[in-house]
Structures are given as structure tokens and as C-alpha cells.
Amino acid sequence: MTKKLMKGAEAIGEAAIQAGCRLFFGYPITPQNEIPEYMSMRLPQVGGTFVQAESEVAASNMLYGASGTGERVMTSSSSPGISLMAEGISYLAGSELPVVIVSIMRAGPGLGGILPSQSDYLQTTKGMAHGDFRLLVLAPWSVQEAADLVQDAFDLADHYRNPVIVLGDGLIGQMMEPVEFAEDRQPIKELEPKTWAATGYTGERPRAIINSLYLDPEELERHNLRLKEKYDAIVRDEVRYSSYGTEEDYDVLIVAYGTVARVCYTAIEEFAEQGIHVGMVRPISLFPYPYDAVREAARRAKAVLVVELSTGQMIEDVRLAVGAERPIHFYSRVGGMLVSPEEVIEQTTAILEDREVIHG
């Protein structure tokens, strides 16, 4: 299968279509407009449907209805738009509907700016909305990985009956890279028929009711505990990450995700050229978070450096993983500014020479 040079946004759309997504509901917002634009053109070609919702609130509820019929559905948005979907996402999780949501982070808070950022990490991984629920969150660092994760996301969503968020930033959406789509891709999870879907009650199965309301607290408690079990299973089985430079010994471990990890990777290579070994763990699943991998990799280092495009969000998970065992340093650029390899090298060198690190 030949490689194709594609914009991240288009690769994401094409990946969804190849994964069998036939319905897209979305509302324009920079920097991910190319996704709905691509879907509006491509979906009709494959017998699918594109609906430009009147708002993100409506989009999330259209998603709710469509996925309740058992179809594979997707939406995409960026920070302010994702916030508007909060209530809808809580309903999706409460009703256990499998949907894929592509979130392309831009700088905030409020209207903020439209340039890349990672400042929605805590929102996406911990506090998206009210109620006890969790979202599966996958963070690609390249266009190819974005395409792959989107396809996996549909399988994971169906398998767990849970919303899955593919979390990227403006770079992922805008950049072009070679992409390859496997011709005969197989689901990564075994998928049961969606007997729960509301498609008309003919009596062959119990009435299908797509619902998150449980007025009886004992019932709701049972529901909450069932959900909890599901999330525990996800934590057990779906952790994803990759490690770099960890085959050698290293003094500093870098933890970074998404496109920022690419920048760090460049830095690591430049260190390598000077014969200095620096390790990196790149979380790919942000929920479930690779706590063990980060902890063990950190134990092999003298210090940890967390690099993100936020004033300090993923670092909370690194703290949960590493605790007081190792000093945890932090470097970031925010507001749409990007971290450069040069800056990572400087910060890392400072730690190696244990100079005071200038926090971004």
C-alpha cells in the first residue's frame, strides 16, 4: 500500500471513513476546520452523511442520537467547542455510547488564540464534565499515528461502549506527512453486535432504551460501580506509551506527549550525537495513563523533566507516578508558543549540570 502525503486533518477524516465512520456532526472552529470540510466532501461519496450542526452543543447531542442507533459516528472540534460539548459528553459516557471525538487543542482560556497548545489535558483526562466517568484519551505525535489512533479509537469505543477522544494540537491538524492506510485492517478488539442499539422494537430483544437517568439511588449506584469496573478494565488493558533512548543508561528522563515529544526526540538525538544519553517516555494513552512505565523509567534516572505546552497539567500525573522518588523538573511554553529542541537541550543540560532551571 503506497504512502500518501496528507494534511493531518485530512488523514484523520480519511482514517475515520476507512474505519467505517459514516456520520459526522460538527461545527467549524480553527484549527481543525479541514476535518469537517473533508468529511463534508468525502462522506457523501461513500454513502455517508455530514451534518453541519448549529453549535457544538447540538453536535454532541446529534452524536448521541446517531450512535444510539449503533452506527459509527464522529465529531471534531477545538478547545472552546469541546467545552460546549461537556454536558453532551457526560450523557454519552453515562449512556455508554461509543463515539469518537477528535479534539485539536488551541491556546486558552476563553477565546485565547488559535495556535497549538496542550492546555486541555486536565479537562480531557480528568474533569471533562459532571459525574463519575472517564474518557479513553489517545494522543498522536505524527500524522500517521493520528490516522492509526483514529481507527483504533472506533474499535475501542465500540468494545468498551465508551467515548474515545483523540487529542491533538494545531500542528497535528495542519502539518503534512506521508500516511499509509492498511488495506485489510482488522479490528483491534473483538466487537459484539450492538444489540443495545435503539433501532425499532420488534419484540426480538428487550426494548432498547438509551438512557443515563436512574432516579433510584441504589440503581444509580450499581450503574456507577459498573462504569467504574469498565474504567478499571481500561486501565488494566489499554495503557499505551513508547520509550526512547531507554536501552542505554541515562541521567535525565523526559516525559512529553504529542507533537512536543517530537521536539524532545530531536533534542535527544542531538544529545546522542554528543554521546550523551537522555531517556524519554511518551504517553500515547493519556487515560489510561502509563504510571508504571513512567515510574520505572524515572527510577533509572537521576531526575525527570516534564515538557508540555501548558503551565503544568500532565505533570500532575507524573507526580502521581513518581511521587517524591525523583526530582521532577518542568519546562513549558504556552499561549501558542512552541518549545524548540534548543530549549529542551538547554533545560536538560541545566539539569545534567544541575544548574537552576529557568521555568518557561
Binding site: L5, E177, L338
Partner: protein, 190 residues
């Protein structure tokens, strides 16, 4: 080995296009590539740029603060990016529209009269191809033939323009290579 370049100029100059052609050629040459356009506020105001990275290892950051080469198609572009080019890097200046000299003396500077050349060839809208050719000639970032293939593909629709476009590309290429030996002293003399 990595080649990276920032190509920058006005909106209408076909900068994003030659960036894509370069990236495609790199990909077809079996290299790892990335193409990153500017987006956001700076777009308003009609300036535009893209960063292309061609490497034999997976591409790290697709955004390059200090590129190994700069292709400046207009003055604002030169003003904005010249200071950022890596010492020893390549600086291609579209001398048709930019009448100031380079300020850095630690760069390999190549003056490319892109618009003149394109006009000469009766292909006025292809100044960008002259510039692309010059960049290839100067850096050998990708083999010329790979670029030719992509140009053929991209203009497959209108075959008659293919040849003139290829010629335009070659003229640029010669400036790039030739430049590699001559331009610099000329530059010094200027």
C-alpha cells in the same frame, strides 16, 4: 542527515505549492518528510510561509526555529527569517523583488532573480519554480529527477505547461548549483 528549509513570501507566490512539491519529492526519494504551513494571525496580512523537513530519520519537530536554509521570496520574509538561519546555512534571496543585501555574513547567500527568469521563459507565474530549482541546486536536498517527476504529476492536467515548467525548474537549479561556486564572491563584491 537532515535538510530543512523555511520558504516564505506573499500569499500569491505559490510558496505552499513548491513546499509540497519538495516534500513529495523527498517522500518519493524514500526520505522522511514533513510540511508545515504557517497558520493563524500572521496569515492575515497576506504573508505566508511553510517549513519543509527532509531527513533519513523520523522527523522530529516539524517546526524549525533555526532552519538550515531560507528561501525568501519577498522583503518581509527576508527581514523576519534571516536572523534565524543556522550559521553556515543557505540563504536564497529572490533578487527580483528584494533589493537589499543579506545582513548575515555567516551564510551561503544565493541571489535568485526568480521573477526575471520566469518572465524570460514566458512563464511569469512560475517564479516559485525557479526558486525551488535554485534551492535543490544549492542543497541537493533531493535528487532533481525526483522533483521533475512530482512537477510532471502536479501539472499532468495541463501537459503543455509541463515542459516549460521543467525548463523553469532547471534554470533555477543551475542558478543554485552555479551559485554554489560563483555567487558568494559576487555577493562579496556587491
Amino acid at each position: 542527515m537532515q535538510n530543512d528549509v523555511i520558504m516564505a513570501g506573499f500569499g500569491g507566490q505559490g510558496i505552499l505549492l513548491i513546499g509540497k512539491i519538495l516534500a513529495y519529492a523527498g517522500m518519493n526519494d524514500g526520505k522522511e518528510v514533513s510540511w508545515m504551513p504557517s497558520y493563524g494571525p500572521e496569515m492575515r496580512g497576506g504573508t505566508c510561509n511553510c517549513t519543509v523537513v527532509i531527513s533519513d530519520r523520523p522527523v522530529g519537530s516539524p517546526v524549525i526555529r533555526s532552519p538550515r536554509a531560507l528561501l525568501a521570496m519577498n522583503l518581509p520574509a527576508l527581514d523576519k527569517f534571516e536572523p534565524r538561519v543556522r550559521p553556515g546555512g543557505v540563504l536564497l534571496i529572490n533578487s527580483s523583488l528584494i533589493d537589499r543585501e543579506a545582513q548575515r555574513d555567516d551564510l551561503r547567500v544565493i541571489l535568485v532573480p526568480a521573477n526575471e527568469v520566469a518572465n524570460e521563459l514566458g512563464n511569469p507565474r512560475a517564479a516559485n519554480l525557479v526558486a525551488l530549482g535554485a534551492y535543490i541546486g544549492a542543497t541537493k536536498a533531493v535528487p532533481l529527477d525526483k522533483v521533475e517527476d512530482v512537477v510532471r504529476e502536479s501539472f499532468a492536467a495541463k501537459p503543455k505547461v509541463v515542459d516549460v515548467n521543467l525548463e523553469t525548474l532547471h534554470r533555477g537549479y543551475d542558478i543554485g548549483t552555479g551559485a554554489a561556486v560563483e555567487e558568494v564572491p559576487v555577493e562579496e563584491g556587491a
